[in-house]
């Protein structure tokens, strides 16, 4: 482990203020109920993963926080604001950056246009120089069509474009999915660097090895409910506990 690991002692996070509080959240796709009373909270500067099997409701949780899934009950509080009842664009403007599972790179936009598409919502975002320093590939390929990038580059682009908006809470949906191990490692390092810069991150992940590499705490999701919450240390100490949930 590198020196960055020092900054993410669970104890430090435990004293930080709660940034996002999800309380008894239920959500529906049309008539089918997908989330059944999810509750967890995320503290300032913390990196929290949502882990669980396919279809457990992890992605839906992020989509509900963003208001993309509109039909939801319960409460989602971001700092002092209640998100349930707000529209997606209003939620984003509070300073929440969303990186969807399918990456959602726009094919009719160049890499540069993709990168600068999300408007700056508040101060404190990365400058263009910082962005290109973190993601040098994107500068080299700025003029290409967005979807001409490799899978790994598209994932970097999807993360990079929400960093200049000034959002301090990032919702990342399976950034490691479908990527080669060397690229997964690279993305893991970027996520660690973002955490060190003070971003608060909720990460949906199926790749347990990847999740262990970066996270402070893990929320285990099963059938639209939270079944366990454990710190990274607890996970390390008792891998069997989580593996039984994931069925691996």
């Amino acid at each position: 482990m590198n020196s960055l690991a020092m900054a993410r002692e669970p104890a430090a996070a435990a004293f930080a203020a709660v940034m996002l509080k999800v309380d008894n959240l239920s959500a529906w796709y049309a008539e089918s109920k997908v989330l059944h009373g999810m509750s967890f909270d995320v503290r300032e500067g913390e990196l929290l993963t949502l882990i669980g099997r396919n279809g457990a409701g992890k992605t839906t949780t992020l989509r509900s926080i963003m208001g993309i899934v509109q039909k939801r009950t319960g409460s989602i509080r971001f700092r002092d604001e209640e998100l349930v009842g707000k529209r997606t664009f209003q939620i984003a403007r509070l300073g929440i950056g969303y990186c969807p599972e399918e990456r959602a790179i726009f094919s009719s936009l160049s890499v540069r246009e993709n990168l600068f598409l999300p408007p700056v919502l508040r101060e404190g975002g990365m400058t263009d120089e910082q962005l290109y320093a973190t993601f040098p590939n994107l500068k080299a390929r700025a003029g290409s069509q967005g979807t001409k990038l490799s899978g790994g580059e598209q994932q970097m682009l999807a993360i990079a474009r929400i960093l200049r908006t000034g959002s301090r809470l990032l919702l990342l949906d399976e950034p490691s999915e479908g990527l080669a191990p060397v690229v997964v490692k690279e993305i893991g390092e970027i996520i660690q660097r973002l955490k060190a810069q003070g971003f608060t991150i909720v990460l949906v992940e199926q790749n347990l090895r990847f999740a262990r590499m970066v996270a402070d705490r893990h929320v285990v999701v099963e059938n639209g409910k939270v079944v366990d919450i454990l710190t990274n240390a607890e996970l390390e100490a008792d891998m069997g506990r989580v593996k039984s949930y994931l069925g691996v």
Partner: protein, 293 residues
């Protein structure tokens, strides 16, 4: 040049083809923009084109406001009425099958046309040419106003294209075309953008109407007769392909004009033959770059 065909006739029809093409291009561009972002097949487009011409006529005859101010005023009024329509009628239909939007806009077109016909009759109302005269090019006589229409519509189409392809606003529009939810998740008010886009698209129709008023007469059915061709243009160019719509518009205007010269009997069907061929060979449209929906 060709045996039995005078250059006068040839160039006359080329000009007429370009004029018609100008209207096809501007109207189909508006339709493509609206369809691209909102997935609404805007059947009111023809009525909104008519409304543009009609508002210009009303402004002139009741308020004494002439052609040039009307060229700005009438499209703005059409755009505003369009935005009201979008909020009241189209937004609640969002997320439903395309057919609902199509039928709703068709109903509005029939109502608007019916109201105008009821109040002003179905005979055309004349609108004075604001630019009388022309120049003799030797091989043909070129009326100034027709030249103006061709140039102005070209400028409008190129301007619209630049706006969409080379500005930040255009990037939002293109992105929302692909994945509206994600664009909204970046903090952009996509519903408002849809209202404004619909306003812009039908504003283009209103603008075309004002341009058309001095050439064709102002009549309630002027839009519906044109729309059949314009829909064919959009289908050939590719639904939602904005550049494709404009290029196809000019191209088919010319093809139609030239057919009148070489085989007049086919002039009224040539566009639809093109549509059948293009649907057969490239169902998504000549300029479509993504799979059709």
């Amino acid at each position: 040049m060709f045996e039995g065909i005078s250059t006068q006739l040839l160039f006359g029809q080329v000009l007429l083809g370009l004029i018609n093409g100008s209207f096809y291009a501007m109207l189909s561009m508006g339709l493509a923009i609206i369809f691209g972002l909102m997935s609404v097949v805007n059947f009111t487009h023809g009525a909104q084109y008519m409304l543009g011409a009609f508002i210009a006529w009303l402004l002139l005859n009741y308020l004494g406001i002439g052609y040039w101010p009307s060229l700005v005023l009438a499209p703005v009024l059409v755009a505003i009425s369009g935005m009201v329509l979008e909020r009241l009628l189209l937004r609640p239909l969002q997320g439903l099958d395309h057919l609902y939007g199509l039928l709703a806009t068709y109903a509005v077109a029939l109502i608007v046309e019916g109201l105008v016909r009821y109040k002003y009759g179905s005979t055309g109302l004349p609108y004075d040419n604001p630019m009388p005269g022309g120049i003799n090019l030797g091989f043909m006589f070129l009326p100034y106003y027709r030249l103006w229409v061709v140039v102005f519509s070209l400028v409008t189409c190129v301007g619209t294209w630049l706006l969409i392809e080379h500005t930040k606003l255009g990037a939002y529009l293109r992105a929302a075309n692909e994945k509206p939810q994600i664009v909204e998740a970046f903090g952009i008010n996509v519903p408002k953008m849809m209202t404004l886009t619909y306003g812009f698209g039908v504003g283009l129709a209103g603008l075309s109407g004002v341009l058309a008023a001095p050439i064709y007469q102002v009549s309630p059915s002027m839009g519906s007769s044109l729309m059949i061709v314009v829909f064919a243009v959009v289908v050939i160019g590719g639904m939602g392909s904005i550049v494709g719509a404009a290029i196809t518009g000019y191209m088919l205007g010319l093809v139609e004009g030239l057919t009148k010269v070489f085989y007049p009997e086919a002039a009224s069907v040539v566009i639809f033959m093109f549509m059948i061929i293009s649907l057969y060979l490239r169902p998504a449209g000549i300029f479509a770059d993504k799979e059709s929906v």
